[in-house]
């Protein structure tokens, strides 16, 4: 009989939960976990604390290497998946290797979102999603005193606090985008502006960023409506978008994530999606939603693994915990932790 080979793409909470669940339920299968970064699984939520030096790098990591040894999960780090051929059940890696599988769980998570109108300024902005991003911030922060925060999702408030703790001066362009994935309301807006100002942040309210240009090595001019603001560093926080570009020609259906049914099945035999990259229809909302946050991701990872092994568990999320952002419904619970 052909050996079962389950492959999980994505070394985050959904991917790791999926791989561990697969091992527990299928003791004799071969299991491979592919991660794009060269790092072990870490907690992105702790990155602002790492940035400010409150915790050391070791404190970021969620699972020791022994975990994979113990569970007999082959961990392949620093490997980028660039293609999927569902009919042949093969993944294509960046270095041209073909990885055959009998079952696949896509848990690739999200990547920082940059609105279309700011794409051309990408090189001038810092995002914070990975440990490498955090290291870039830390290196650059040694040289600068002033940081301008634009866009604004909930991570940006944690980063702002980290920057203030480091004694930096911070300006914040606060507008309706500043509460992703929450919808802005006058109350939230007022409260946020008040809190930021009280902590010494210069708040630039209700304005849209039109452009930016580099004037010198550590000098950037940002045009916010008709106002020109000088800063040394720009942080961009526009939330995350599912990182599913490599699936575009695969035949799977991609919208804001991989479209899956209530059992997280993609419609292609043996292929499931979980975590931030899965997009599921919710009958109570009459809309699709994408999950965000560690616990949701792990939960979906577990369900995808169980279903891959033959169960038919449906994901159930209460409609109250889902918010709408830019036409995408997002399941959040982590924001409540702030």
């Amino acid at each position: 009989m052909k050996e079962e080979h389950y492959v999980v793409v994505g070394n985050g909470p959904a991917g790791n939960e999926a791989a561990t669940t697969l091992r527990d339920k299928a003791p004799s299968a071969r299991i491979t976990l592919i991660g794009r970064e060269h790092r072990m699984c870490y907690r992105p939520k702790l990155l602002p604390a790492y940035l400010s030096g409150t915790i050391e790098e070791e404190g970021l990591y969620a699972l020791p290497l022994e975990h994979y040894q113990e569970k007999d999960i082959k961990l392949r780090l620093g490997q980028r998946v660039v293609g999927l051929i569902p009919d042949r059940k093969e993944l294509v890696l960046d270095h041209k290797e073909i990885v055959p599988f009998t079952g696949l769980i896509l848990a690739v998570g999200g990547t920082p979102r940059i609105p279309e109108n700011l794409h051309i300024f990408r090189e001038l902005m810092f995002t914070l999603k990975t440990v490498s991003d955090a290291k870039r911030w830390m290196k650059h922060l040694r040289e600068v005193e002033h940081v301008l925060m634009i866009g604004g999702d909930l991570t940006s408030f944690a980063v702002t606090q980290a920057l203030l703790d480091m004694g930096k001066r911070v300006a914040f362009v606060l507008n309706e985008e500043s509460f992703r994935p929450l919808r802005s309301s006058p109350e939230i807006y007022e409260e946020a502006a008040h809190v930021l100002k009280a902590r010494g942040v210069e708040v630039i309210e209700g304005r849209r960023v039109r452009g930016m240009s580099r004037l010198g090595q550590d000098s950037i001019e940002v045009m916010v409506e008709d106002k020109r603001i000088s800063t040394q560093m720009v942080g961009a926080f526009f939330g995350l978008v599912p990182d599913v570009g490599f699936l575009v020609r695969s035949g799977l259906h991609i919208e804001s994530g991989v479209l899956v049914d209530e059992t997280l099945h993609t419609g292609s035999e043996g292929i499931y999606a979980a975590g931030d990259c899965a997009q599921v229809y919710h009958p109570a909302l009459r809309d699709y939603w994408v999950s965000i946050g560690h616990d949701n991701a792990a939960n979906l990872g577990r369900i995808a693994a169980q279903n891959l092994l033959g169960e038919q568990i449906e994901v159930r999320v209460p409609a109250e915990s889902i918010f709408q952002v830019d036409g995408i419904k997002v399941n959040t619970s982590w924001w409540k932790e702030f």
Partner: protein, 589 residues
């Protein structure tokens, strides 16, 4: 070019050879994917190479000889070639910017080109009805082979959808007119503002001309077929675009919804934003992945503020005296249909309303019936033989979108050209244009392996996006800069080069295999041939005693030339293999 498929040991061609062997056409189809994907069979590697050699005039002429309107297509072509470009294969990066380079050739040419070669007058007269891309291409081809052509169009200006459908911010009218003028300069008599079947009966044309070709396009707008479609504020997308092109745009509300997923839907949404609507959203049944438009188009539309609302389908248009909104239901992927494509089915109980005061319907176009003799199909349209373009009345031909339904500009041009050749052959019994495979001796190129890692050069655009919205006619794409064009032209692998190992001289050292950048050189037990005698595959082997040949799989080869450089016995040859068109005596030979 039997050598590459039957007798592996034959040396490469030592002079120019033409072939019409089906096996050689099959070879082209598999191995030069860009040219094969182009309905007009534009010789893409050749024109990119000409541009690399700083010969924009030559590059433009290679284009023009196949696709007639390079300046137009360099802006608005649907680019089927780029979808097939070998550089876009999963591990090889992004496709070459074939279309953008076409525009570079058109923009940078000296404009000193001589008139196209023309054969002497044949004494035959042809009427072409409809001066869109198909009609213009057919007129061009008929005029160059010696026919007197009269081109009729119902509109005051020639160009069809190019003039009346595609917005000026994507296709500047001065450039369009210039290329149309060059066609008309062949001596074509243009009679604009004349509707055949109304102003002049088709029967009269048939009696006055030796042949009539109708290339009428698709000017009928499909309806969504939901209640409320006749409310004020619901506008046909096509009529909207035509009114805008004629300089009399209709008044739009503040919130516009566009129903549809094609180029017209995008043109409508982007035009609406330029004409004063505050919010324009494109509503689609499927996902962005299924758009027929290019990724660039989607990005630019979003950049300008167009919103895409996926996975929904309209149920009815709401409002008492005018549009107030649209009721939709959500959709989800269903079972695959007969074409393998999954259908998107409505989800029961998922109704919701999006408020709007303008609804632009761009769900498709269709051919309109024509007052003409001959048999009709179930839709009331003329019965046409798609192979011969003939209708059921002698001398009456049909081509382009009118026959096939709405398609691409390049598809219409190719159809117009094919119909012209058919008419010319029918009227004279002679062959005027003939497609052949030309093989010439070549050497490895000066391409550097590092060029394979150059990133695709993206098209520069007018920014910030708000500044494009001020004047409707501001062209959004500004063209690749000279440095970008030079870099982009380096990226083409030049797939028209054919690499081959001479097995009579090969010493099986396998250096070529070791140096190959991918699995393009194979140890094979057997070369599999198809019915035409062309290479259809290889039976590979890892058992050394079963190896009967070392072969280069040209469908995998990226023409890097490494194998030629390392071969110690110089047994790898390079041939330049191109699908070309020969005209006049050459074709008749």
């Amino acid at each position: 070019m039997r050598s590459h498929r039957q007798n592996v040991g034959t040396p490469a061609v030592s002079q120019e050879v033409y072939s019409e062997d089906p096996a050689d056409f099959f070879y082209m189809k598999v191995n030069v994917p860009c040219q094969s994907a182009c309905p007009a069979l534009t010789n893409v590697p050749a024109y990119i190479r000409a541009l690399f050699e700083d010969d924009p005039d030559g590059s433009y002429e290679i284009n023009r000889s196949a696709n007639i309107l390079p300046g137009v297509l360099g802006r608005i072509c649907s680019r089927p070639c780029e979808d097939q470009c070998r550089h876009g294969e999963p591990e090889l990066g992004e496709p070459v910017g074939i279309c953008h380079l076409k525009r570079v050739a058109a923009d940078r040419r000296s404009r000193k080109e001589s008139a196209p070669a023309k054969l002497p007058y044949s004494g035959k007269r042809v009427a072409v009805v409809g001066a869109g891309p198909a009609g213009l291409a057919a007129s061009h081809d008929l005029a160059t082979v010696g026919f007197e052509v009269t081109l009729f169009d119902a509109f005051p200006e020639p160009g069809g959808m190019l003039t009346y459908g595609i917005p000026a911010f994507r296709l500047p009218r001065s450039m369009l007119r210039e290329e149309i003028e060059r066609i008309l300069d062949l001596g074509i008599i243009l009679k604009a503002g004349v509707t055949i079947g109304k102003d002049i009966p088709m029967e009269r044309l048939l009696s006055e001309y030796d042949a009539v070709l109708a290339t009428l396009g698709c000017y009928g707008s499909r309806r969504v077929g939901v209640p409320g479609e006749d409310l004020p504020g619901v506008i046909s997308g096509l009529e909207f675009m035509m009114d805008v092109s004629r300089g009399r745009p209709p008044r739009l509300g503040k919130k516009s919804l566009v129903l549809g997923a094609g180029f017209t839907a995008f043109d409508c949404a982007r035009s609406a934003l330029r004409l004063g609507t505050d919010e324009a959203s494109i509503c689609i049944r499927r996902t962005e992945e299924d758009f027929k438009v290019t990724k660039d188009e989607v990005f630019q539309a979003k950049l300008e503020g167009v919103k895409i609302l996926p996975l929904l389908v309209s149920q009815r248009i709401l409002g008492d005296t005018a549009v107030e909104g649209v009721e939709f239901v959500r959709t989800r992927p269903g079972a695959p249909g007969p074409d393998g494509r999954r259908s998107f089915e409505p989800i029961e109980g998922s109704e919701f309303v999006i408020p709007a005061d303008t609804v632009l319907v761009a769900v498709g176009q269709e051919s309109l019936s024509l007052e003409a003799p001959g048999e009709r199909d179930s839709k009331g349209l003329p019965v046409v033989d798609r192979e011969t373009f003939r209708g059921t009345v002698p001398g009456l031909y049909f081509a382009g979108d009118y026959v096939t339904g709405p398609g691409t500009v390049i598809g219409a041009i190719a159809a117009g050209r094919a119909a012209a050749e058919r008419i010319a052959r029918d009227l004279t019994g002679n062959i005027f244009r003939r497609k052949s495979i030309r093989m010439r001796e070549a050497s490895i190129t000066d391409r550097n392996r590092t060029w394979d890692y150059i990133h695709r050069n993206e098209m520069p655009t007018v920014n910030p996006p708000e500044s494009r919205l001020v004047h409707y006619e501001t062209e959004v794409e500004t063209g690749l800069r000279p440095d970008q064009a030079a870099e982009e032209s380096k990226r083409c692998y030049l797939c028209y080069l054919h690499y081959e190992i001479d097995m009579t001289r090969c010493i099986y050292c396998r250096y070529c295999i070791d140096s190959a950048p991918r699995d393009c050189i194979k140890l094979v037990d057997e070369v599999l041939l198809n019915e035409a005698g062309a290479v259809a595959g290889f039976k590979e082997t890892t058992v050394w005693r079963d190896v009967n040949a070392v072969v280069i799989d040209n469908s995998r080869c990226i023409r890097c030339g490494e194998c030629v450089r390392v071969c110690p016995v110089d047994c790898i040859s390079v041939t330049r293999v191109e699908l070309v068109e020969r005209m006049g005596e050459e074709a008749a030979r």
